[in-house]
Amino acid sequence: MPVLHWIRRNLIVIAGLLTLAYMILPNIVVMVFSFNKPNGRFNYEWQRFSLDAWKDPCGVADLCGSLSLSLQIAFWATLGATVLGTMVAFALVRYRFRARGAISSLIFLPMAMPEVVMAASLLTLFLNMGAQLGFWTVLIAHIMFCLSFVVTAVKARVMSMDPKLEEAARDLYAGPVQTFVRVTLPIAAPGIAAGAMLAFALSFDDFIITNFNAGSTVTFPMFVWGSAQRGTPVQINVIGTAMFIIAVMVVLVGQVIASRRKNNAQS
């Protein structure tokens, strides 16, 4: 049978597309339900179309406050983790030093640790030190778990970088600072950017560690968590959809610019 034959030949493509559908489906649901007008407090069942939530995304108490707090924490956590992680990555790739193995393990372990373990133990530390839980404890925690991911991303890039390029710069009258700014940094930039983006995403979306160490401070994921108990406003779907669209747009625009630059350079 030709149909069966076709299915057999394209089995992998069909299976892959089904997986993709599985991954995209919740996003579509989130998007569709951002136009819902639910009857009760929970936005789980479709009632009727409405633009109310889109017209007033901050119309729910504390929602936009928590969103702004999450963005701030993500920004500072990204900055901190990227700077510290880049330094560690350079040291690991470019230098020989003692205790190398131990340091590599220390970098790897946070990634091999269930989040709840790190969350609970960090809270133990803060309780023992009598630290005030809030913005700063969350920021400290986020820098901690983002650090390893930044190191991994930057390390991969720096490892593939030819050390001769820096020698060439020094040979061409660039001092240590000039060499770093003019050559090392621009070439390592894609790795650093990848690490920073990963850190931002991890920090912005983190729930478990934040939930343990935030005290009474409420980040956006914590707001969503709380609303799952109290009632889910349509506005969270609006925020979720908006973020999704913005992210896809940014990626697509980036792609277009990159491919256009490539075309220009070749012509």
Binding site: G16, P26, N27, V30, L84, G85, M87, V117, L122
Partner: protein, 313 residues
């Protein structure tokens, strides 16, 4: 040009007495890596390693919140914790393991598709794989409540096909609902950690030279044999890191169990969380968390040894 006729003095006769002036790299230079490492490593030592020490100590303390806790080397806490909560432990490992296998089965075809079949659609598909990340995973997990809702399209279809009869007989679902059953939790875990499986798989598949497939075909391998003997072995690093990146976070997760499950599907993460944040029984919470860490680290170490991929670090 008279250069060729007058070669400089042969090297065997130094022009002047040798001055053996030994140079050593300066101390400042040798310290550079340590300065680079210092802030990051200090951060991890203080906020990652030290907390683990504190937690270890907490786990052997006794006392109460009012009177304070004291180290009494009370190892009984571990025994009690295991006795009271072993179902949650086993459930966690079972759910996380199942979700990991499902992620591998679902993720491999998609990673393969992106690496070898997508052609000019490759970047678009990659974006679609990563894009869900940008919507908070909690919001997306809540969407599964809608998708799997009682009387929803998914449940209807499964009911009509009598799938639910089978799964409820196996204890995975109830006879007429999916939400608040183990299947819903595993489905959520699988969904949430799929990208962590697909990206490493894709990275290792993409590195495979397409000509290897042709070479295998040239050497009398059928497509299936080519996959088994060439593609799969070469993608093993991706399989290993993908399964680790899926299993480790899934084993400690409590979000899916809380949002999509019921009291019968609680995982160990939920217990740790409620002991810590609600019951305020710190020693038990610390002991549970330590056991989870030990189990996961042992499993990971054993797995990495077995698969012989130790260059992940």
């Amino acid at each position: 040009m008279s250069l060729t006729e007058a070669p400089p003095a042969p090297p065997s006769q130094p022009e002047e007495p040798q001055r053996p002036k030994l140079r050593k790299p300066s101390t400042r230079k040798r310290l550079v890596p340590y300065w680079l490492l210092l802030p990051g490593i200090l951060w991890l030592l203080v906020f990652f390693a030290l907390p683990l020490v504190y937690q270890a100590s907490t786990s052997v303390q006794t006392g109460s919140l009012e009177q304070g806790f004291e180290v009494t080397w009370h190892f009984q806490t571990y025994v009690d914790a295991l006795r009271d909560y072993y179902p949650q432990f086993i459930r966690s490992l079972l759910y996380a393991g199942t979700a990991t296998i499902l992620c591998l089965l679902l993720g491999y075809p998609l990673a393969y598709l992106i690496a070898f079949k997508a052609g000019r659609w490759r970047n678009l598909v990659l974006v679609l794989v990563i894009a869900p990340f940008f919507t908070s995973f909690l919001i997306r997990t809540l969407a599964w409540k809608t998708i799997l809702a009682d009387g929803g399209a998914v449940v209807d279809v499964l009911n009509t096909l009598h799938v639910l009869d089978v799964t409820s007989w196996l204890g995975w679902t109830e006879s007429n609902r999916v939400l608040a059953t183990p299947m819903a939790v595993v489905c959520g875990l699988t969904y949430n950690f799929l990208p962590f499986m697909i990206l490493p798989l894709y990275t290792s598949l993409e590195r495979i030279d397409g000509r290897l497939h042709e070479a295998a075909g040239d050497l009398y391998a059928t497509p299936a044999t080519t996959f088994r003997k060439v593609t799969l072995p070469l993608s093993m690093p991706g399989v290993v890191s993908g399964t680790l990146l899926t299993f480790i976070p899934a084993s400690g997760d409590y979000v899916n169990a809380e949002l999509l499950g019921s009291t019968d599907t609680k995982m160990v993460g939920s217990v740790i969380q409620s002991q810590f944040l609600r019951v305020l029984d710190y020693p038990t919470a610390a002991a549970l968390s330590f056991i989870l860490m030990a189990v996961v680290l042992l499993a990971v170490t054993f797995y990495i040894r077995r698969s012989g991929t130790e260059d992940l670090v």
